[in-house]
Amino acid sequence: MIKVENLDVHFEYVAPENSSFRVRLKNRILKESHSYPKSVKALNDINLHFQDGDRVGLIGHNGCGKTTLLRVLAGVLMPTAGVVKVEGQVNSVFDPGLGMDLESSGFDNIKIRLMLMEFPVSEINSKVKEIAEFSELGVALHRPIKTYSAGMKVKLSFAIATSISPENLIIDEWLSAGDAEFVQKALTRMKWIVDQCRVLVVASHSQDVIENWCNKVVWLDNGYVKKKGHPKKIFREYLEFYKK
């Protein structure tokens, strides 16, 4: 269960031309107020209630607040107002390659990622084996990953990101990987994860993801929830809205 009530996220920033020490000192002495931070209202008055079993797609144009909302749900950003309640653990994937090092071997990178995901240390070795097997990269895992093709890297990060089945899953973009054969395997893996988790929230632009994987859609526009409801219906409206 994920519940969000009256959520606001208002960022503030100082215009670059006002951020230098010299300008700030001048403003302070002359008591001018130009340097006071300006505000960006990234999310406003968001109210959402997801039950266990909900597979939620988040749609909206770039800059509408999708990632900010996901960061709040994932617990890495504290909102400026409102309440967020999440039952159960959350696993979030924003950048599946975070922390990976090109000079280190595939095996080392699996370990780095698992440590960052706070995977229990005592089970790491068996997990590494499991991921290695799933990735089908074989002996290549002993090589530094800078020798990998783009496809191999994606396979590896997919295998790692999906190796843990979380209670609640929050992903910034649908995870998929690889050549025709692997795609099938990746789909099966995603289906398994989605079936396991209580609530899934995914931001996506893809009609396929929204219509085939989600049972709810939230359409964000300019920091507000514009519409929410049935995936097919809302996505159609969304497409038509932006055609105009």
């Binding site: 100082v14 006071y36 504290m78 924003f94 922390g99 000079e103 780095i112 960052l116 706070e118």
Partner: protein, 269 residues
């Protein structure tokens, strides 16, 4: 910069605790970084040792003549002093930008925020271990190793680590909203290296010892160095008290700073 953000306070003590408890994560990340840095080099991490050996050798040779010092006394003095200094200045200059450099991590992971400064502490302690090889060689060549001295020095090192970690982490928080701090810190440490008795003997100050005594960095260096060279002394207790006091004060302030600033990081990174 004044912030008008309306954010709740974090629990500073709990944050500190949970970061310390996740020692497996920060020790792992620190070790990985050492490996990455010296990957594909001839000596690997032993470049750290080699570079220090060259520094101590050259420094002892030139400054030993300049300050008219006996090499047998001066060389261990420089080696131990510089090792302590490399740890102190290395940590404090790096700590300032640690949150800025880990922006991606902080914006994506729920790991306790202090993991990142702790990782730097751990990496620099490992560096110090590589440095210590040079010190032991020097000590061995010039008269021997005092086991009690080593033990006291380790106590000093632990106290120093607490002080550095807490003070550096406070700077890390403030550097996020004031990006001048990391830059200024680097220049300050260049000056501090010259005005702190590290490669020159404090005794050269003669009657002006207060120049050293009012410099906290003198105590931070000596808390590690003096027992190695002279064993136990009342002087060492003074250094230990000053460093310990800084650590205590730093930790209290840090807990407060965490509770005020922790949730702001996501907004300023």
């Amino acid at each position: 910069m004044k912030s008008n953000l309306n954010l709740p306070r974090a629990d500073g003590k709990k944050e500190l605790q949970s970061a310390l408890l996740k020692w497996r994560v920060w020790t792992f990340l620190g070790e990985i970084e050492i490996k990455q840095r010296y990957n594909k080099t001839l000596l690997g991490p032993f470049w750290i040792t080699g570079a220090l050996a060259i520094f101590v050798g050259a420094c002892s040779f030139i400054y030993g003549v300049l300050f008219k010092q006996d090499l047998a006394e001066y060389m261990p003095y420089v080696a131990a002093g510089y090792i302590a200094w490399a740890y102190i200045s290395g940590y404090l200059t790096e700590a300032c930008s640690v949150f800025i450099l880990h922006e991606n991590y902080i914006n994506q992971l729920r790991l306790p925020i202090l993991i990142y400064p702790l990782k730097v502490v751990w990496r620099l302690l490992l560096t110090l271990l590589h440095h210590a090889v040079v010190l032991f060689v020097v000590l061995f060549a010039f008269g021997g190793i005092n086991p009690l001295g080593i033990l006291l020095s380790l106590i000093g090192l632990l106290t120093l680590s607490v002080a550095l970690f807490s003070i550096g982490s406070i700077f890390a928080f403030y550097s996020v909203t004031n990006r001048d701090i990391p830059i200024v810190t680097i220049s300050i440490f260049q000056i501090l290296f010259l005005i702190t008795p590290i490669i020159w003997p404090a005794s050269a100050l003669g009657k002006r010892m207060e120049i050293a005594y009012f410099n906290p960095f003198y105590h931070m260096v000596e808390v590690v160095r003096s027992p190695i060279l002279n064993g136990f002394s009342n002087e060492w207790l003074v250094h230990l008290s000053v460093t310990g006091f800084l650590g205590l004060l730093g930790t209290i302030i840090l807990i407060r700073v965490i509770s005020l600033k922790q949730y702001q990081l996501g907004y300023f990174l």
